[in-house]
Amino acid sequence: MSDSTDDKPAPEEPSKYVPKADGVDPYATRLIRELKQDRAILACRYDATGQFVFTGAQDYLIHRWDLADESEELQAAAFESHESWVRAMCLFPHDDRLATGDYVGRLIIWQQMNGEPKPQHSIAAHEGSVRAVSVSADGKLVASAGNDRMVRVWSAETGELVRELAGHDCHVYNVAFHPDGSVVSADLKCRLKHWNVESGEMIRELDAGLLYVYSVKYTVDVGGVRGMSFNADGSQLACTGATGVKGIAHSGNARVLLFDWKSGELLQELKPEKDEITTAWGVRFHPDGFIVASGGSRTGGFLWFWQPDQPVAFHMLKFKQRAPGFDLDLSPNGKTLAVANHDGTLRLYEMLPEPVVEDEAKIKDT
């Protein structure tokens, strides 16, 4: 005879993330800065020092925000060269170069991003949009993916075409270099191809098909991996998008698919606690061991936080503004998230509680 009044045992609570002692506290994530631009921002990247954030936007310009300048009315430095929206963006790992791609197929490798930026190479890389760019770990190669179904690998030094990776049968939405020098690309139907760059051969395919559907009603493919990111050692890959999309009138439900890179198997289908009509866009692995993504839709914008072994987000931040976060980047010191918003504002969120200000008088007395 049991003591408890219930016959069934209490359900196991999923273990919630416990912030590391010397790490950040996702639960405390708060908006610390808003940097306004004219038009929707589609991409954002911190530079290696964390002093600058670069954005690509619908005004065709690359903006550089100097975060060391704390003034309220801070203006960004803006750099022209692209002739359409800039969504593809990747920083070079060891120097102040930046690779960007636009909607009309141009890939630009910029140099002196921290000084007087100018295009080092301006390449007509694709017929139609460049949807994503990635820079190799050694900084020597740049990969671009586009609407012409091609993935191309370029020499960062000379700007010349090194390799063409053909095989996708629809628009290629994303591309990323693995730390080992191989490349993964993902398309509209959410099929991933893992390439050997040297030989140009495809090594294997991975399937992120949960993020894709063919809409019979609208007779169109709906899908595309919006964001793609490896963790630091390349053992895991996160892909973002939405699942269960009914058509083209509104989004489905945001998802981040977590793959084990070695086996190619899907480890987790990461989802928000409550399914809303949203798409997940940018994603990052935090060194503390959690995964953070940005996204949203007309309903609003969100940040979601997951542990890699738990499908349901342990924390969620809903933006004040009803504008999705199209892109996300983690500051080099791991404390801040930069989010590129549809409303044209770059927002910085700190994953730490508000610092307590000691009473000045008290401090003086001690």
Binding site: W85, T219, I248, G296
Partner: protein, 427 residues
């Protein structure tokens, strides 16, 4: 010849009918496949006959991503504009093939409608009937054409090549079911065209004949309008069954099947060509779907990517076959899309201004009518109301839009009485 009301002999009835020239189903066999009239011959016989080809881009085609691009603006989106065959006229880069035939088209950039219902169906009805749907139902263009234009003898005159899930609809309103469009869902032959397996060809002939005789008996001592209409519908069914190859594009040359492409819209365009060549008066092709509230740019890229080439191929083929002269072509949609780009990179519905394209019979081509301002938020020149376009669609094929439908005592105007055709578009 006077009828003897007392005569009830069936033999007498049958031969009298034959003398009156009515087709008796079974005379040439219901099941036998008739030869389609050869296109060249068709051209001669029906030299002056007008035809209509309607492209309905369903969901609301974005004027920014098609015929009224505004690159480098806050509303224009990421795509560029490209030059067309008409110097000084630019289309969106999403329509490279259509750009090459701009000299065969007239673009109207200043279409508008007011008090449009929010729903697609209502807005579509407004465009296709020339009347506010709240005052409906009114007949769509296809049924209207079937009453004012010459109809083919042995074919349905008004056919809608529709997306897969679209079924038959009562689109003829007060013109009645006999004038309703024949719907080819997914471009497939009409429902129930194929005989069930349990009935063979011979059986079909026999049963139609028996049925016909029953009707002749029934109508002997009665007023005959209804039974005649009923019998006529079976005659048409028998005719259509004989003509079922009409719907089979596998009968078109292989090279054409390649040129038009293997996806649905390409095949539908080839089918439209086939139907028009054999003399169908009005063919509508609907392309799904442009209602991109989300990811407008991705989806217009996909849909126009599908649309651009087969559309161009069809217009060019009509032209090279000398058919564009007497075939009115129109490219319509129920409204445009918002200049403002929404948070999920979509565009919403926009009736204050959008684009429509005409070509072919009776139309002044090679130009643009109307204009919008720099970022496409308003009309700056020659607004054209949906109802004015409806008048134009009639006048272009030689029909007086101020005329009426005579409906046994009631008269309904063809076009909205307070509007008139757009003279600038007409030759």
């Amino acid at each position: 010849m006077t009828r003897d009301p007392a005569c009830q002999s069936t033999a007498h009835l049958v031969s009298r009918r034959s003398m009156l020239g009515n087709l008796v189903a079974g005379a040439t066999g219901v099941g036998a496949i008739g030869r389609l009239v050869h296109p060249a011959v068709a051209g001669e016989i029906e030299k002056k006959k007008k035809q209509v080809l309607i492209f309905l881009l369903n969901g609301g085609l974005s004027q920014f991503e098609s015929f009224d691009p505004k690159p480098n603006t806050d509303t224009g989106g990421p795509f560029r504009q490209i030059a067309t065959a008409v110097p000084g006229t630019y289309f969106s880069e999403l329509m490279p093939h259509t750009a090459t035939i701009a000299d065969k088209l007239a673009v109207v950039r200043s279409m508008y409608a007011q008090k449009v219902p929010g729903s697609h169906g209502g807005a579509r009805d407004f465009v296709e009937t020339g009347r506010p749907p709240q005052l409906g139902p009114n007949p769509l263009m296809g049924p209207v054409y079937s009453t004012v234009l010459e109809q083919p003898d042995e074919l349905p005159g008004n056919i809608h090549i529709a997306p897969s899930r679209w079924g038959p609809r009562q689109d003829a309103a007060f013109l009645g079911p006999k004038n309703a469009s024949l719907v080819l869902s997914g471009g497939r032959p009409p429902l129930n065209l194929e005989r069930p397996e349990s009935i063979n060809e011979g059986s079909d002939d026999v049963r139609y004949r028996l049925r016909r005789i029953a009707d002749l008996r029934f109508s002997q001592r009665r007023r005959t309008a209804h039974s005649e209409a009923y019998s006529a519908s079976y005659d048409r069914a028998a005719q259509l069954i004989r003509q079922r190859d009409l719907f089979d594009i596998a009968k078109e040359p292989e090279k054409d099947q390649q040129r038009y492409g293997t996806h649905d819209f390409g095949r539908h365009c080839l089918l439209a060509r086939r139907l028009l060549e054999t003399g169908v008066t009005c063919v509508k092709v609907t392309h799904n779907n442009y209602d991109s509230h989300m990811e407008n740019f991705n989806f217009h890229l996909e849909q126009l990517g599908e649309f651009d080439r087969p559309f161009t191929t069809l217009i060019q083929d009509l032209d090279s076959r000398g058919m564009l002269e007497h075939t009115l072509v129109m490219l319509i949609t129920e409204f445009g899309r918002t200049p403002a780009i929404q948070p999920d990179l979509g565009r919403d519905h926009w009736p204050p201004n959008w684009s429509v394209v005409l070509g072919g019979c009776g139309i002044q081509v090679g130009g643009v009518l109307g204009a919008t301002n720099e970022n496409g938020t308003e009309i700056t020149d020659r607004p054209v109301h949906v109802a004015e376009m409806f008048h134009t669609y009639l006048q272009a094929v030689g029909v007086d839009p101020t005329g009426v439908h005579e409906l046994g005592g009631t008269r309904m105007p063809l076009g909205a009485p307070e509007r008139s055709a757009v003279k600038e578009l007409l030759i």
